[in-house]
Subunit: 218 residues, 2 copies
């Protein structure tokens, strides 16, 4: 196992610290759509994404969702170990966007090493700063962009992630990423289609004019 | 000077670490309304609030503002030392809401100690988690609450901070806290007045029925 690849500070940990982390790792498999972490009640630990894709999101009391961060191969998820930090008080949910393999480091083990190791604590700080920046980015989009711009940007992001212009995604999925109502997303997609930017198909959405879509998104 | 009061981990720093931090502190005075930190370009350091009140906010390209965190006596502001973290990439602005005295620890000094000291790094982690929770709270309000609820909640928060129901605040100020348009805030305040919740005066807003305002905000 190569924890080393996830932690650039690995060589600055002591051998006992490396051993306790390595020995604590639990391999977990999650099917597409599985809920991995449900708010403050859960705390399965630091998650290292081996393969697949995770999504961290906020959930309203009416069940609407807003994606705050997406995690890919080689990313580290901290939200699932929020109980490590007394001051982290917010309900974040995590689900598997694709079939995923993750390694989990139990929060108590990670915390114990972090409390001894300045390099690991500082690296964790950097990870948190990076998620913080994600959340600030989302907040800026939500506050200052029109919804049609956000839908256009999301389609382009999705095409970049999947490496294809033929997106297999429902209007409901898009609404859940953006914290929008499904009906609003459908209306916008129909408008995009009437303007020749996308083609709505049975199983998804085809981007036919990415340039025009990008222009709208900016 | 009592840096000790700001850092519960103070006794776990070495004497040389305590000395380098103490000696680096610069006392700064800011008048009400002063801009202390302007996005990524600035990095004056970790700010310890001695007296007064600071506000961290996001700014749209059109000049609209959204408060993301408010800092009071004995709080520590990290945003003003964002350059310490490579992964922190977002434009946050900080201004003085009242005449304020702050102590600034230069980012290079703080970072150097944090890199050696696991206790300080972990405490900084807790501070960041706490700001992260602030931002998530704001995002939840923005996403899932109606604007009238947010205006009502803001008036109650302001009354609690100031310890009075006679608020000296303009409609523009409120709009800038909430990322709203001034006209929208004015319309809502007039509605609150017609419902007997507030009284709009020349210099501000008087809360006359806090119970009804609270009911609306929830």
């Amino acid at each position: 196992m190569d924890l080393k690849d996830y932690f650039p500070v690995w060589d600055r940990l002591t051998v006992p610290q490396q051993e306790i982390l390595s020995q604590s790792v639990v391999r977990r498999m999650f099917s597409k759509g599985a809920i991995i972490h449900s708010g403050e009640a859960d705390c399965i630990g630091i998650l290292l994404v081996r393969s697949g894709q995770l999504r961290a999101y906020n959930l309203s009391s009416e069940g609407r969702e807003l994606t705050i961060s997406r995690l890919f191969e080689r990313d580290i998820c901290l939200f699932s170990a929020a109980c490590m930090m007394n001051s982290f008080q917010c309900d974040v949910f995590i689900s598997a966007e694709k079939d995923s393999e993750v390694w989990a480091i139990p929060p108590r083990v990670y915390k114990a090493v972090m409390e001894q190791s300045a390099p690991l604590a500082n690296y964790t700080n950097e990870l948190m700063a990076s998620r913080f920046s994600d959340v600030m980015w989302v907040m800026e989009q939500v506050m200052w962009k029109r919804q049609d711009q956000r839908v256009a940007a999301f389609l382009l992001e999705e095409a970049a992630i999947e490496g294809t212009d033929q997106l297999k995604i429902t209007h409901e999925n898009i609404a859940n990423h953006l914290g929008a109502h499904r009906e609003v997303v459908t209306r916008m997609l129909r408008y995009f289609q009437s303007e020749g930017m996308v083609k709505l198909t049975r199983g998804g959405i085809e981007i036919v004019n990415p340039g025009k879509l990008r222009e709208l998104s900016e």
